[in-house]
Symmetry: C2
Subunit: 484 residues, 2 copies
């Protein structure tokens, strides 16, 4: 690991975002490319962030009635076929297992692209009486979608890690509430853990999850002006329940069909996180997700070494006692400058520098990773002081992302204005929309921007009376943006 870390990032985030991102991921030790195109190796530093993210979300799921389970990674072709009663499905994107050992399988098995078709039959089996509902199961696993695009770690990979929740409810009201609960938790994850404001809305009908009644989404704006779909929550109506017979006997002994939902968030959230906060020095992480929140770098010469180290160890002990994730970097073979660069590259949110001056004055020098702000503080009450500064660092990250987002939502009243505005600035463009997919096409064809969402509330008045593209009456407000 030494070899690569001696070199910092050479690409510019502003001028070559894609190259900069690829370099960041490798040099900060987040991921490597696997030998097969489309696959990555998630390295310990990247995986630890995924684990922390997962612990937050998983805790909220459990507090709100979700139970984890594990379903097979393979789905028989005939089970996937059954979905075709509902929709076209995932066929063109499925990886197929056709051989076990030296033998051809009688029925080929899909590596799960998502698990509705294997989980819903079990929801059916477990649902007898109205007392069995709601059922809420979730699994943390990987899924495979065989898309032939360029690999972009955490954004575009054939295999990706995610969680998928699947629930069954008595009626539409309960199921819609479930969809909202999960979307709310995704929003909370972005805002309170990833330090990223997001927009939430509904996918236009032509871009819903196959078979869904409603698909809701949280959308995050990336620094290059593109929108990332950060997590989706679907109300599936009774379509899957009907196809797989999820029925129950209600209190009046009547047989009813359940209403189901599904919702998923993938490691794309990591990609969005890295892309949003990091800079030309390397990774920037909010303290909520950083494995090491604080690094102490002692600065000594031969005479001061013992005093400086003792003082630093004492500070480390105080922080550890307070539950701060702190590391004392007392490596002998590296100088402070090297250490600064390395910890900046790796995204440690707060650095504490301790030299002879700090020891003499009973002080500490703090440096905030996001903006390099340097502050001298008293040694006393170090834990409280550091916790305040970690909060400040989180707030700085959030504020900066919020400022970007707020300036990047514009309006347009014609096709030319949509094209011109997105072409020039990126970001989101809101406009009146008749609801016809055909009106998205000229924008898609010209600049690869699409309708990433419409307002969740179907009754909300469109911002303009006319569709910006065809001039017919507007049904809703469309948010156009380029996407990842």
């Amino acid at each position: 690991m030494s070899g690569e870390q001696e070199l910092g990032i050479t690409e510019s985030k502003e001028h070559a975002t894609g190259e900069w991102y690829a370099e960041l991921v490798q040099k900060a030790g987040l991921a490597d490319y696997a030998p097969m195109g489309g696959f990555i190796v998630t390295r310990p530093r990247g995986y630890a962030i995924w684990e922390r993210l997962k612990n937050h979300l998983d805790g909220w799921f459990k507090q709100t009635g979700v139970q984890n389970a594990y379903f097979p990674m393979f789905i028989p072709e005939s089970y996937l076929e059954k979905e075709k009663d509902i929709v076209e499905g995932f066929d063109p994107e499925v990886a197929w297992v056709t051989k076990g050992g030296y033998d051809e399988l009688e029925e080929q098995l899909a590596v799960r692209p998502t698990s509705e078709s294997i989980i819903t039959p079990f929801l059916a089996q477990w649902t007898r009486s109205h007392r069995d509902l709601p059922i809420r199961v979730n699994q943390w696993c990987s899924v495979v979608r065989w898309e032939a695009t360029e690999t972009k770690p955490f954004f575009r990979t054939k295999e990706f890690l995610w969680q998928e929740g699947h629930t069954a409810h008595h009626d539409e009201e309960d199921a819609v509430e479930e969809m909202e609960t999960r979307l709310g938790q995704y929003k909370r994850l972005y805002e309170d853990v990833l330090a990223m404001p997001v927009l939430s809305g509904r996918k236009p009908d032509h871009d819903k999850f196959p078979g869904a009644h409603t698909t809701t989404t949280v959308e995050a704006l990336m620094p290059d002006g593109k929108s990332v779909q950060g997590g989706t929550s679907h109300y599936l109506g009774t379509s899957f329940a009907e196809a797989y017979d999820v029925t129950y006997v209600d209190e009046d002994e009547e047989v009813k069909t359940a209403h189901t939902t599904s919702w998923g968030l993938s490691w794309r959230a990591l990609g969005a996180l890295f892309m949003t906060h990091s800079d030309d020095q390397g990774l920037v992480l909010p303290p909520t997700l950083a494995e090491t929140q604080v690094v102490i770098v002692p600065i000594w010469d031969e005479d001061s070494k013992d005093d400086v180290l003792a003082y630093a160890e004492d500070v480390e002990a105080d922080l550890e006692d307070a539950g701060v994730r702190v590391e004392l970097d007392d490596r002998d073979h590296r100088n402070p400058g090297f250490k600064y660069n390395e910890h900046e590259l790796n995204g440690v949110p707060l650095r504490i520098e301790i030299g002879s001056y700090e020891v003499a004055d009973d002080e500490l020098t703090l440096v905030h990773r996001p903006d390099g702000e340097e502050i001298t503080v008293e040694r006393d009450n170090v834990a409280e002081t550091v916790e305040d500064h970690l909060d400040t660092i989180f707030a700085k990250l959030y504020a900066s992302a919020e400022e970007t987002l707020e300036g990047e939502i514009r309006e347009a009243e014609s096709r030319e204005e949509i094209l011109g505005t997105i072409g020039q600035h990126g970001g989101y463009v809101k406009c009146g929309w008749c609801g016809d997919e055909a009106c998205e096409e000229p924008i898609k064809d010209a600049i690869a921007a699409e309708i990433v969402m419409v307002p969740k509330d179907r009754d909300e008045e469109p911002i303009h009376d006319e569709c910006a593209i065809c001039g017919d009456e507007a049904e809703e407000t469309a948010y156009f943006a380029k996407t990842y």
Copy 2:
């Protein structure tokens, strides 16, 4: 879930262990059979136990320098082939992905049967200087081995959940110490968390992990007298490091080959746990792993209901405050007897019964799940009392498993004695062994027992001077047993 739970277990653990186990797994809601033979669905109650087990082990791994990571679930055929320089490998057991979407893949991909062949090349890439070692990565994932045997949930399935650790070290001494550390953690898991004593030893050379220098194992005895391999830890020598070029520059600028290890524990540990402690009433779990450690069952009539419930809620609050995982079963539509049966089936370690008598006398009635022992205790200090009883329940489970194990290790001095002793009693039979695989065969052929381990210490004197089978000089002590 109501439908199935009204029926208790009908098979006898003693007289029909296999049928009893299959019924236990389904009726206690641990797992269901998937539509494809060899696969299971791990239901929430089963998965929650796996999660708790995982948290224990994962915590110990992290305390001892292990970092989690995630490697692709597919391995290119050419990468697996490279292993053939070392050993025959997993070919006959591999599930192959041959198609992505509608297209044949140029190179077929193995669904990982284990990940040495994809992880070791990355250990090589990350290892430059002696300062980069040791490297220790672990992943929690599922693997697939296409074995055509009858499905037995958690014991024999084509896909199973496990963790696999992979490490690289400077030299043999460090790598052997690593192997011992992980084996020790597996032993600790069984003893301190699963309440199961285990034997630890080494696999005979003919039964080592392909390519390993040494394979160590923890073996657990099941109630039907068969041994389960509960976890294995391998010192791989330099064979994998040589095949995949894991080399480093040492302090004297010399290039050296690293020594590697790998170690894994699967959900088979769950199978062994369920099999060992459970009984004809259903699941029995140690309090360490039970999702609900204590269930409070209030017993009321119309007059006493309010008082009993208030008293019970108060007890629940005290226990919750102390961090006990407690559930108050105040369902109206079920009587106490039904509730007792249901919680016994589901393995809740401790039941608290509260009726008018308990309320009047400021007392509680406790019932231990494993043996039905009933104790009346003071209401005061309920948390402390309950914690003591949970400890007692753990100790009862351990003691009972220990007693079984201790009585089931016997000695034999001839082939006939081995066959007779295992045939009559099951369990382990120790004998002198010349070290030749050929001497295992007549035992395997006759009663399907094999050498499950030999002592770890290669210098340990064999218990008898002569091989019990061929009469040649004994090299070590062999432990014969039937296996799962």
